[in-house]
Amino acid sequence: MSDADARRAAFEAEVLPQLDALYRLGLRLTTEPSRAEDLVQDTVLKAFRSWERFQPGTNIRSWLFTILRNTFINDYRRRQREPIPMDLESPESGLALRAASDEDPEGTFFSQIVDAKVLEAIDRLPEDFREVLVLSDVESLSYAEIADIMKVPVGTVKSRLFRARRQLQSALYDHAVEMGYLKPARARS
């Protein structure tokens, strides 16, 4: 086996098992399967070119997610998109959630919602929120790993995650009420 073949084999052994996770993150960031596929392919080829920079023993997934995220920001993000205000949390979302935990304190309604609805609700979150929620709650990265990927302090990760969950849980609660999985909470006098 030539050196080039050995290098490629080592790369494939580490990176191919991560394709599912790369595709999932790509899909949530681009929200379109065809763009997610292009993004994953670009990410893998970039990673291959800079393979020597990966330090064995460190988290391969974090390294690949960083490349995917940078590629997304540089080449895939819709340029005409409006910047998203960070403080768009409406007072209603807090109320809805309080209602959810009153009506269904153990959150059993979550399990009744179909997968596609959950994904759709994630894709509707503002990009900064969506990213941190997927890295934490879907891909189970730690706050420190997420902070490293997103180049923000750990405190920012925590506060974005808190707000992202609140928005997502409110949206799922509204959906559950609409579908009749839950009764709407009555206003208390």
């Binding site: 394709l19 935990s101 304190p105 153990e106 959150g107 959950v118 994904l119 709650d137």
Partner: protein, 79 residues
């Protein structure tokens, strides 16, 4: 809900649910949840949410066609 024990349990809820705390710390928070109904409910709500997200959003896989495309791109070119 303004007790320091409540504050601590809720601040560390993520780490608690992922079992990333020391055994003593885990036990202290479990003990608190056994005594404090509002905190217990919040923890159960969050646990249900995390289980749901993992079950529903982690099932998506890389399509075979993409896997093949990536492999071909890796093997056919000089990078």
């Amino acid at each position: 809900m303004n007790k320091p024990q409540c504050q601590e349990a809720l601040d560390l809820l993520d780490e608690y649910l992922r079992q990333e705390l020391t055994p003593e710390h885990m036990a202290r928070i479990t003990d608190h949840f056994e005594k404090c109904r509002p905190c217990f409910s919040q923890a159960e709500f969050q646990r249900s949410y995390l289980l749901m997200i993992e079950a529903k959003a982690k099932g998506q896989c890389c399509p075979d066609a993409l896997r093949r495309r990536v492999l071909e791109a890796l093997r056919s070119r000089q990078h």
